[in-house]
């Protein structure tokens, strides 16, 4: 019952937070610039175009009126027209979402599957050579700029060794879309050739995103396991004669995984931040490269809508993580 109350309370706080986010993006796009119409039209636009834009978006109305109109638009899913593609921005965002999701999901899976065991082993063999190597590598991994790591890996594996494609998501057309995930769609259709190709193109971008996330996961898992290992109940179990391996894999792993879950929100945030630059380097047609090309073209509507979109996704993901955490970890309730 308390769990349900807690979930309900968190859900109740979502609408005000969402509204606050809309207000923030509105403030950045409509309040800060001295002439929002000019910013939207671009620096080189002729005055008539600026005036037309001002008329169309009602930018000469009082601010509160503009805000109400903005909220109504967003609620209906109308995020304005992209100045560059002349399509609704919402369409562009939704079209690119699967590409980024596919990348992010593979990255998280790899980071967790590789990172958690590594963290556990490093903790169990504390101060061994492996442990020291792991600690140095994770410190370095977290100090690297994601875009630089992407360029380095691209230089090494694609340009010098020729093992992976340099850029892009696939050669030619992807599989006929069911989910929008190239790997899933190809597998569902039994198109193994396309699946192999899709995986080859996925390899480097996923690795680039996964490595920093893995560094974080390894560090937190290691710390969590060390914490648990020195706790009383593990000592008691060992004293009772329960085999060490059982103690490790049952209790320590559970607390390590819970620890990782609490970090998922943070990791997801870093993943989105990384995706922006990684997609640019590898020319991956997702949300991140959309944001960057919008920046380069000063496509103002697109950039603001991207910000709002990511914010909403983030709020939802954090809510789900909090709920999952509360369900899995009774201590947090």
């Amino acid at each position: 019952m308390r769990l349900i109350a807690m979930i309900a309370r968190r859900c109740l706080w979502m609408p005000p937070t969402l509204l606050g986010l809309v207000l923030l993006v509105f403030a950045i796009s409509h309040v800060i610039p001295s002439d929002p119409a000019r910013v939207m039209a671009g620096e080189n636009a002729p005055p008539e175009q600026v005036a037309a834009l001002r008329e169309k978006y009602g930018l000469d109305r009082p601010l509160p009126v503009q805000f109400v109109r903005y909220v109504a638009d967003v609620a209906r899913g109308n995020m304005g027209i992209s100045l560059f593609t002349q399509r609704p921005v919402a369409d562009d965002l939704l079209a690119r979402l699967p590409a980024t999701l596919e990348l992010a999901l593979y990255a998280i899976v790899i980071a967790v599957l590789a990172g958690v065991p590594l963290g556990v082993i490093a903790a169990l063999r504390r101060n061994s050579l492996l442990d020291h190597v792991v600690r140095v590598v994770t410190v370095a991994g977290l100090a690297m700029a994601a875009f630089w790591l992407a360029i380095l890996l691209q230089l090494l594996f694609s340009m010098w060794l020729g093992l992976t494609p340099v850029q892009g998501r696939i050669d030619g057309w992807g599989p006929d879309p069911i989910t929008g995930f190239y790997t899933l769609d190809a597998a569902l259709r039994g198109d193994w050739a396309t699946l192999g190709q899709a995986l080859r193109y996925l390899a480097l971008p996923t690795l680039t995103l996964a490595l920093p996330a893995m560094a974080t996961i390894v560090r937190f898992t290691r710390a969590g396991v060390l914490n648990v290992m020195s706790s009383n109940f593990v000592f008691y179990q060992a004293a009772m004669g329960i085999p060490r391996r059982r103690v490790v894999w049952k209790y320590i792993l559970r607390s390590a995984l819970i620890g990782t879950l609490t970090q998922i929100g943070l990791i997801f945030g870093n993943l989105i931040a990384g995706a922006v630059v990684v997609e640019t380097v590898f020319d991956w047609p997702g949300l991140g490269s959309f944001a960057v090309s919008s920046i380069l073209q000063s496509d103002y509507n697109a950039i603001m809508s991207f910000t709002l979109f990511i914010g909403v996704v983030f709020i939802l993901v954090n809510l789900m993580v909090d709920v999952a955490q509360a369900v899995l970890d009774p201590r947090g309730r």
Partner: protein, 282 residues
Amino acid sequence: MSALRRLMRDRSAMLGLAIIVALVAVAVFATPLATFPQDVTTYHPPNRLLPPGPKFWFGTDRMGGDIYSRLLFGARITILIAVVATSVAVLIGVPVGLVAGYYTNRVSDLLMRVSDVFLAVPQIVLAIAIAQTLGPAIQNVILALSVTYWPFWARLVYAETRSLRNEVFIEAAVALGASPLRVMALHVLPSIASSVIVRTTIGMGGTILVAAALGFLGLGPPPPTPEWGRMIAESRAFLPQAWWYAAAPGIAILLVVMGFNLLGDGLRDVLDPRLRRGGDAG
């Protein structure tokens, strides 16, 4: 053993400190240390894209500028952005967190809701939006970073203040007639100081990474300013041949951020082992 002594015995923390000191020294003495200080603003197209050699230690960039010299002057940009942005964020966020944590009224709730909205978006996404609106300039980068960073501090200090409110020594101070301001400044603040110091150090590293990303995306100080992120972006068109063009600024960023992280980790181990719950327990 005092905290400082213990810190000095932590080799990785001392390495981090050495790197930071080196960074500051390089920035201050960039002019005498640089082999071609004029390359920050002048172009020498005949020299473009030369590999590292005895004359141009890290090679030259697409304008023929000596990368080593530009890197040194870029250190000034890096330090300026990191120090100012982090300081502003801390100077705003900590008092906001103190006030919000100490009182339990509507204002306190409102402040935290506002912070939550800012924290709902990844910092770089919001920073991109702000920097794009204001235009590529160093002061806009600093503004974008500060505005997106202060809520982190507000939340942090709020949580710590809230948990301290129930401590006996706070109760005692209030009972003795101390004003709220006095309690916050003289009793709460010293207790959370070590946490703030540790996270400020580590936060400098993170700020440098976000600033470099903004520079990479073209939202940072415009050319010919030798900002490290922008230099990496410029290098992309000339890969794989001109590998030194991408390697040098990237290694600089890596070293500097690692320095701050190592020092921060060392400070945390020394000042407050309790904070280890999130990091290296080794």
